[in-house]
């Protein structure tokens, strides 16, 4: 615990949620350091996406607390959580289909473009100035994934992998402190996954943010995560570095049903 001096960007304690009689997540305690890349893995239905939905307040937790940069998010709405510094992508892609790629990124910039409705209607100088800034910023962000030349394409006409990348760019545009990626490599081929891995590292280093990702591709998880949390049936069953996790008997049991993994 060398990073104890730093306030964690996210800290949860006793976090849990029930749906009717079903406890989906229980006693979920994690701490994410300001520039950490953390993996969240577990078998299907373990509650990983539910945890993301709790952190972003799509679901209201039944119990426990979430501290974002030391601040309790108890009374925050999803919008306020985003403004406070958590951005996310979705497992089932949620882009603004009828808008262009650039416009999708501009939605991410929404809170950082400073002009009101009336300057927009009457095209006051602040409109032109801020729109120009937003346009340049959007292209800069798209350039991280080499998508700047697709800025005017409609989002729903992008190939699948590009849609996933666009979601990450949109999330980055909101200037988060913590980026939550829900299966960013789903549907990507090995070379695309490789490129994505490098890009996630690049984003962390350039923007100085923490990243938490849910992923089933173990090459990606083991390759870039500094720490991994394993959940099963809504509870944490193991936590540690990739090497520790790979050798944890409980994890092996959860994934393979009690037999030792042969590599």
């Amino acid at each position: 615990m060398s990073d104890k001096a730093q306030t964690p960007v996210l800290q949860t304690s006793h976090l849990g949620i029930d749906f009717g009689g079903l406890t989906a997540v229980d006693e979920f305690n994690i701490s994410i350091a300001p520039t950490e890349i953390k993996g969240l893995i577990g078998p299907n239905g373990a509650g990983k996406t539910t945890i993301f939905n709790l952190l972003t307040k799509v679901y209201q937790p039944s119990r426990g607390t979430i501290l974002l940069d030391g601040k309790d998010t108890r009374n925050m709405s999803p919008v306020q959580v985003n403004h406070a510094g958590i951005a996310r992508t979705f497992q089932n892609i949620r882009l603004f289909d009828q808008l262009t790629v650039e416009e999708n990124v501009k939605i991410g910039l929404h809170d950082h473009v400073k002009y009101g409705m009336f300057s927009g209607i009457f095209r006051l100088p602040s409109f032109w100035k801020e729109e120009k800034r937003a346009h340049e910023r959007a292209l800069e962000l798209l350039d991280i994934f080499g998508m700047a030349n697709e800025a005017d394409v409609r989002a729903d006409s992008l190939p699948y992998g590009a849609q996933r990348r666009l979601e990450i760019v949109r999330a980055l545009a909101t200037q988060p402190k913590l980026l939550l990626l829900d299966e960013p490599a789903a549907g990507m081929n090995p070379s695309e996954t490789e490129e994505l891995m490098n890009n996630i590292k690049k984003i962390r280093d350039e923007f100085n943010i923490a990243v938490m990702l849910i992923e089933h591709d173990m090459n990606l998880v083991m390759g870039i995560c500094e720490n991994i949390v394993v959940v099963n049936f809504g509870k944490i069953i193991a936590e540690g570095t990739p090497t520790q996790i790979q050798n944890d008997p409980q994890v092996i049991e959860a994934y393979l049903g009690g037999r030792k993994e042969e590599d």
Binding site: T56, V58, S77, I107, G120, F122, F127, A173
Partner: protein
Amino acid sequence: MELFKKLKKHTKMSFLNYGIVIVFYIVIQILAMSGHLTNSLKGQLIPIVSYVIMALALNLVVGISGELSLGHAGFMSVGAFSGVVVSMSMAGSAPEPVRLICAILIGALLAGLAGVIIGIPVLRLNGDYLAIVTLAFGEIIKNVMNCLYVGVDGAGIHVSFKDAGSLGMAADGKILINGPIGANGVTKLSTFMAGTVLLIIVLIIIQNLVNSRTGLAIMAIRDNRIAAEASGVPVTKYKLIAFVTSAAIAGAAGALYALNYSTIAPKKFDFNTSILVLVFVVLGGIGNMTGSIIAAALLTILPELLRKFADYRMLIYAIVLIIVMIATNNEKVRAFVNGLKKKPAQEEAK
């Protein structure tokens, strides 16, 4: 021409719409000067402009915000009667154009206020539920207008929801709105030119709103509400902005419409009117402002043009609606139209 090509697509569309309105105005003026404008068409000019504005307002909610409203005639009604009260109570104290401008502004303001009052509870709902509740509110507004009595005398404006006698006016008092009978003896202040100017202003407001940060946020909520929230866009605020702007514009259209007639009754703004405007929006293409302008104008004139078919008029009107509906949704027709659009571009490439 080079400069025009450089403009963004939506900027081109905006200028196309201003162009259509201006050309329409000029054509009508030429027809009027050369004496080719029939009286029946002349009488239709202001209703056409009013319905075009209504269609644009409703398209902002249906097409841009993605919510179905079935009660927009209610906002038109609020604008119409507040416009009548304003213009009549200013009679003699201000020149006619000033009275018209004040009537339209106050009509828009009060309809916008009604939009806020209705929008706050209604916009918590989605989809079909929202449509049904807006329908109910439209009917509520109509019924409130049905029992609204307004009079003016030396002491100012009197309002009652009981009957004309309980207004308690002085002897010189004049009844402006008489319950279900509506307003009588209204001075016709609306002119085609004023309507065209209002239409251009409305187009500027809607198109600039849509092509700004605000419009982008509204469309993002339409496309994916959860993603919009996760991207930091406050959903209720932007839904309300779209709804209230639309209501205020509908109010302005209502004031313009009402001040074109000497008599106007609340039952004019019933459910059928809401549906009529929705038909304009759907036939013109949801989210397509140019389509709304053309559909509203043509379909308002159409019943007049079909007058020679006498008894079969509404039958043919219905058939035309069905044909347009089929044609605009038919893939072959669409492919044909797209083919026409693409040809010039391909020739250039060669």
